[in-house]
């Protein structure tokens, strides 16, 4: 077990996004901070800030004056030591001018038409998961929609894209827990680190190189060039770590949150099930209302932001999910409106770092919900108290026991 967190007395001056109380009450905490604060501070993790208004979050993401750096995007006790503008995991940790060319290398493989080609594979896999879930449900009267469904889908898809064995899923989830969900200092044997894992994968591909345009995404990174040269080994590895880590618990959280919502709102479930035209709007509303990802930046130079003294190397959380619930930016921001027509949500971030995998994530979320609802029809939570949400910068259900109703 990880160390117990000190209790939070005051969320405006001592917030902790890795605290179980935050996981349990995030929406209320954001609403309170937005009204009272609206930029919270904490001395934890060596000093960090958290704006909660959509306008402030968007302005920081836009970073017009270069006051912030993406060198660090996951808040931890230690400041990342790989300097800007490249950072540990390009392009998410990269700043201009390195960012755009590093991102360009990846835009093609994640563009809508490329992603669309993975839909049949994803759909078939979702069906196989539902088959197994229904079997479990028949045996014990319930199944876990996070453990038995949502957490498996992005693992399968990104493993396919990266050419990794899908049975390594549990290993990937451990990497993610250590990197994102609970980034504390730990002693890990070298062979259990994400770096070691991918060094082996990269070495295997280098020994058997593929012509350009063939092979998996790791082969692609070994074939492309930046500024006329092959990518540095650390660049390849960092990007592959990024593609694995960023693609899994985020989408898994999103699918899980949507199922969690539908399990508790029979009217929304019936509408989603019976009205195919509402589904694309519902998917965007799930993304808005239950956006999983809070990004982070670091302060690049001392400055004052609305009276807050930002110091170089302070962390700055960008809670896009809180911005998505700002009543200044969204009508009925605290309500789930299944056919919301005006929805400029920032679930995938805003500005130059817009989630590279957003088309993939949206496809996975849509397909996962289609299959789940079309097959299972009607379901509810076994007990709301049995649902457990993740801590840290990615928010979503990690345990989600649901029972199937068979009368529909």
């Amino acid at each position: 077990m990880d160390a117990k967190k000190a209790p939070v007395e005051d969320w405006t001056t001592d917030f902790d996004h890795t605290h179980p109380d935050y996981a349990a009450n995030a929406h209320q905490i954001w609403d309170d901070l937005r009204e009272e604060c609206p930029i919270a501070h904490s001395d934890r993790f060596g000093g960090m800030w958290m704006p909660t208004r959509h306008e402030d979050i968007a302005a920081i993401a836009a970073n017009k004056d270069g006051l912030y750096t993406s060198r660090g995007v996951v808040v931890s006790e230690v400041r990342p030591d790989i300097p800007a503008p490249i950072g540990y995991a390009p392009p998410i940790t990269s700043d201009p001018p390195f960012h755009a060319p590093a991102r360009k290398l990846l835009l093609g493989p994640f563009a809508p038409r490329k992603v669309q080609a993975l839909e049949p594979f994803t759909r078939e896999y979702c069906h196989s998961l539902v088959d197994a879930a229904l079997e479990t449900s028949n045996e014990q009267g319930w199944f876990d929609a996070a453990i038995g469904y949502s957490q498996n889908i992005p693992v399968k898809v990104i493993a396919q894209m990266l050419g990794l064995p899908a049975e390594d899923g549990p290993v990937f989830r451990r990497f993610i827990h250590n990197i994102i969900e609970n980034p504390v200092q730990r002693e890990i044997p070298e062979e259990e680190t994400v770096e070691w894992y991918f060094d082996q994968q990269i070495a295997k591909r280098k020994a058997n190189p593929k012509p350009p345009g063939e092979g998996d995404l790791i082969d692609h990174l070994l074939n492309v060039e930046i500024f006329g040269e092959a990518l540095a080994p650390e660049h390849v590895r960092g990007t592959v770590v990024l593609l694995l880590v960023a693609g899994i618990d985020t989408t898994w959280s999103s699918i899980g949150s949507a199922i969690w919502h539908l399990a508790q709102h029979p009217n929304d479930l019936a509408r989603f099930r019976d009205d195919p035209e509402v589904r694309p709007f519902a998917v965007e509303e799930f993304l808005r209302a239950y956006a999983p990802v809070t990004m982070a930046r670091m302060v690049a130079e001392d400055h004052e932001l609305q009276g807050c003294p930002m110091k170089k190397d302070d962390w700055l959380l960008l809670p896009f999910p809180a911005g998505n619930r700002d009543p200044e930016a969204f009508e009925d921001a605290d309500k789930f409106v299944i056919d919301r027509q005006k929805n400029r949500h920032g679930a995938f971030g805003l500005g130059i770092h817009r989630c590279l995998g957003s088309n993939l994530a949206r496809m996975e979320l849509s397909v996962a919900l289609d299959v789940f609802v079309d097959r299972i029809r009607d379901f509810s939570l076994v007990d709301p108290a049995n649902v457990r949400f993740s801590t840290g910068q990615i928010r979503g259900p990690r345990e989600l026991p649901v029972s199937v109703k068979t009368n529909v």
Binding site: L107, P112, P280, N343, R344, F348, L350, G351, S358, N359
Partner: protein, 64 residues
């Protein structure tokens, strides 16, 4: 009704392309491409408005 689309602001969220493929296509890097430079046909006015109202980057506007 015409549409102003600002490619400089577009970050490739692809919301417009999903909502109105009649009006927006998408290029190989995932950036929006406006298909109708001139007058938007009346039957697509609602969809054009949806594109405006769902662009997270405010890259799309209606020009009367």
């Amino acid at each position: 009704m015409k549409i102003n689309y600002n490619r400089e602001l577009c970050q490739g969220h692809n919301r417009c392309y999903m909502l109105a493929p009649e009006i927006f296509d998408v290029d190989d890097e995932g950036y929006a491409v406006l298909k109708i430079e001139g007058e938007i046909p009346a039957e697509l006015h609602d969809k054009a408005q949806l594109c405006v109202d769902n662009c997270p980057e405010y890259a799309i506007e209606i020009a009367e």
